[in-house]
């Protein structure tokens, strides 16, 4: 217990020194480049009056017009403000009496400035006076480059979370537990949001109620998309599945479950049979003789193919428990074990390799993005 207290004390002291260093080094500071976006266009609402059709006709050849007109989407017609295309949109809309319906949409996009570039700019002012530094900040601000407080806080939070998870190495503690609780909640919500938009909206809503989907979240859908009754089935099954959350009627979710399990069994059976059974056997026995370009025997390739064949048979013998592993069978099974051990040894090495890389990436984040000691 006492040991643990000392350990935590050391960690906190080191942490405090680290934080002081980090603060001096402008740790986590993240710059962004802003871009103002401005688009001029007409919304799809005035499609009926022909503006979008007329515009579509302008940039498509005759044959394509029919197709394009038949498949107008809900996006409308837009072009960057000030571009020639924007002028055409305004002119056409005005000519057709929709001059007032032309909209201008403006927003700002922020892109993170790559750290090496940020560091390079900072280095230029390393020995500069405070005035010169202020000058640089002002110049950059004019170019749309500035410190993003949101992202800087983000990097600090990310670093804190990284360290919080790592603190589990010393022992379980509230910081770790908090980080763990956050990741569970945030990840679950992330998955839920994704499945809602990509599964429920993009598939179910689009199939059942295309008009609503088009007006709301999938504007690019074809205007002529019609609803399809078939989607009632997954809608009902989905509701039945969500019924599990209700306190009673647990059996109701068996129907969608049966659907999922039946379908999975069906496609898996074929997938495994073909690619993991037939093709595997085919590859093991079909080519045991290899030749070099000059027609002579390729010894090593042929030996390798034979060893693979013998290895597969030996391992399968080991998996086969209907016969007692004695005598020849026992010896073959033994050989199979050796093959498996080599395979597992290699797999172990690859696993180690992978885990180390992940740690390197995390340290890289701490040193580079947060502490700025690497660039």
């Amino acid at each position: 217990m006492k040991n643990n207290t000392i350990l935590w004390l050391i960690i906190f002291v080191l942490g405090a020194v680290g934080l002081a260093f980090a603060a001096i080094n402008r740790a986590g500071e993240t710059w962004v480049q802003e871009t103002h976006m401005s688009y001029v266009g007409i919304s799809s609402d005035i499609v009926a009056d022909g503006v979008e059709k007329a515009l579509t006709a302008q940039d498509e050849d005759e044959a394509a017009i029919q197709k394009a007109v038949g498949s107008l989407s809900g996006i409308g017609k837009w072009a960057p403000s000030g571009s020639p295309e924007a002028d055409v949109i305004v002119q056409t809309a005005t000519a057709l009496g929709h001059g007032d319906d032309v909209q201008t949409v403006e927003w700002t996009e922020y892109k993170t400035v790559p750290l090496p570039k940020q560091m390079e700019l900072l280095r230029e002012t390393e020995n500069a006076t405070a005035e010169q530094k202020a000058q640089l900040t002002a110049t950059l601000r004019q170019e749309g480059i500035f410190v993003s407080s949101g992202r800087t806080i983000g990097v600090w939070l990310a670093a804190l979370f990284t360290l919080a998870i790592m603190s589990f190495l010393v022992g379980d503690n509230p910081l770790y537990k908090t980080a763990e609780a956050v990741v569970v909640g945030a990840s679950a919500a992330y998955w839920m949001v994704y499945s809602f938009y990509t599964g429920i909206v993009d598939k179910l809503l689009v199939g059942l109620w295309p008009g609503l989907a088009r007006d709301w979240a999938v504007p690019g859908m074809q205007a002529d998309a019609a609803w399809d009754w078939v989607y009632i089935i997954p809608a009902v099954l989905s509701i039945m599945l969500l019924w599990r959350l209700a306190p009673m009627g647990g059996w109701i979710s068996r129907w969608p479950l049966a659907f999922i399990i039946g379908a999975t069994a069906g496609f898996r059976m074929l997938g495994f049979l073909e690619s993991d059974f037939i093709v595997q056997i085919q590859h093991t026995i079909s080519n045991l003789w290899f030749e070099l370009p000059d027609g002579s025997w390729d010894m090593w390739a042929s030996v390798a193919a034979w060893v693979v064949l013998i290895g597969v048979l030996a391992c399968l013998t080991y998996f086969f428990f209907s016969v007692e592993h004695k005598g020849v069978v026992g010896k073959t099974a033994r050989l199979g074990i050796y093959f498996l051990m080599v395979a597992f040894g290699s797999a172990f090495a690859f696993t180690v390799m992978g885990r180390i890389t992940l740690l390197t990436e995390r340290f890289g984040f701490l040193f580079r993005d947060w502490l700025h000691v690497l660039d």
């Binding site: 990509t198 599964g199 690619s275 590859h283 690859f350 390799m353 390197t360 990436e361 040193f367 690497l374």
Partner: protein
């Protein structure tokens, strides 16, 4: 000494591992990279396709394995862009979509001549794992309907003449587990004879070896595979060695930079196993005596 080792607090080992990774990283230790045959096969497969071939890139991984797979995914995108291949991105993991956006950021900034919709596009994510793969073989238009920008697939120029992934020359898959390369092999590559190359995590690589050399033409295994691929890419397209690319948000040498810590940590692992066994044998000998 032996007693200390026998009852060693495992936190000392944690510390050793931390130092083994952190120190080479801070010292920027680097070693020459010798590309392995696996990476060469993957590179040549993409390189030897005629310029402008249609390629499906499925990024099926999440931040949990981005250390290994991000460098490969970005190198794949750069290589395809150099070859002017038509890139069709998608993912079977919801957390894979931001990875595709990273790749598209590279295409936008490093290859401004390539245009979204004619040279590359993104189908985005769809839930359903194997079911999604099965339907990419049937009809991409019904499956996705729109791209990730919500533009109808009919209005995307590069979708002309593309009904299913059978119209594509190659599948490139970055895979961290299930669904991933195994499922692409089972439900698309094997039944439809579409060749596939993959960049996979260390955990997965050995499990995919049986599928080599067909339909899995080649695989980049773990960080070594990624570093080797980066090396070949740099040797063939030397501009990727320039500071503008090396210093990009997703560096062209990201994997190579991670090989330094890898070197030291591998030696540490071997050292730990040897030391552990040394203690074990001493104890066993004493026990017998």
């Amino acid at each position: 000494m032996m007693n200390f080792l026998r009852n060693l607090d495992r936190r000392w080992i944690f510390l050793l591992m931390g130092v083994a990774v952190a120190l080479p990283l801070l010292l920027k230790a680097s070693f020459p990279e010798n590309p392995n045959p696996g990476a060469e096969i993957v590179f040549n497969t993409i390189e030897n396709l005629p310029n402008g071939s249609r390629i499906l890139l499925s990024y099926d991984y999440d931040p949990g394995s981005q250390g290994e797979l991000m460098p490969m995914a970005m190198a794949f995108a750069r290589h395809c862009a150099e070859k002017k291949h038509k890139m069709y991105f998608m993912c079977l993991w919801p957390l894979g979509e931001p990875m595709i956006q990273e790749a598209m950021n590279i295409l936008r900034s490093e290859f401004p001549e390539l245009k979204y919709g004619t040279d590359y596009m993104n189908f985005g994510y769809k839930p359903g794992n194997e079911a999604v793969i099965k339907n990419t073989v049937q009809d991409l238009h019904t499956l996705f309907g729109t791209d990730y920008n919500k533009t109808s697939l009919n209005q995307i120029p590069m979708m002309k003449g593309v009904k299913t992934i059978k119209n594509m020359k190659l599948i490139i898959n970055c895979s961290a587990g299930d669904p991933g390369t195994k499922q692409w092999i089972q439900y698309a590559a094997t039944p439809e004879s579409i060749p596939i190359v993959a960049g996979v995590t260390g955990v997965q690589a050995p499990q995919l070896v049986p599928y080599l050399p067909w339909p899995l033409l080649g695989q980049l295994a773990a960080i070594k595979g990624a570093a080797a691929y980066e090396q070949i890419l740099i040797e063939e397209y030397s501009q990727f060695e320039e500071p503008a690319y090396v210093d990009a948000a997703q560096s062209t040498t990201a994997a190579k930079q991670r090989m330094g810590p890898q070197f030291v940590a591998h030696l540490l692992m071997i050292g730990l196993i040897v030391l552990g066994n040394f203690i074990y044998f001493i104890d066993r000998r004493r026990g017998r005596a």
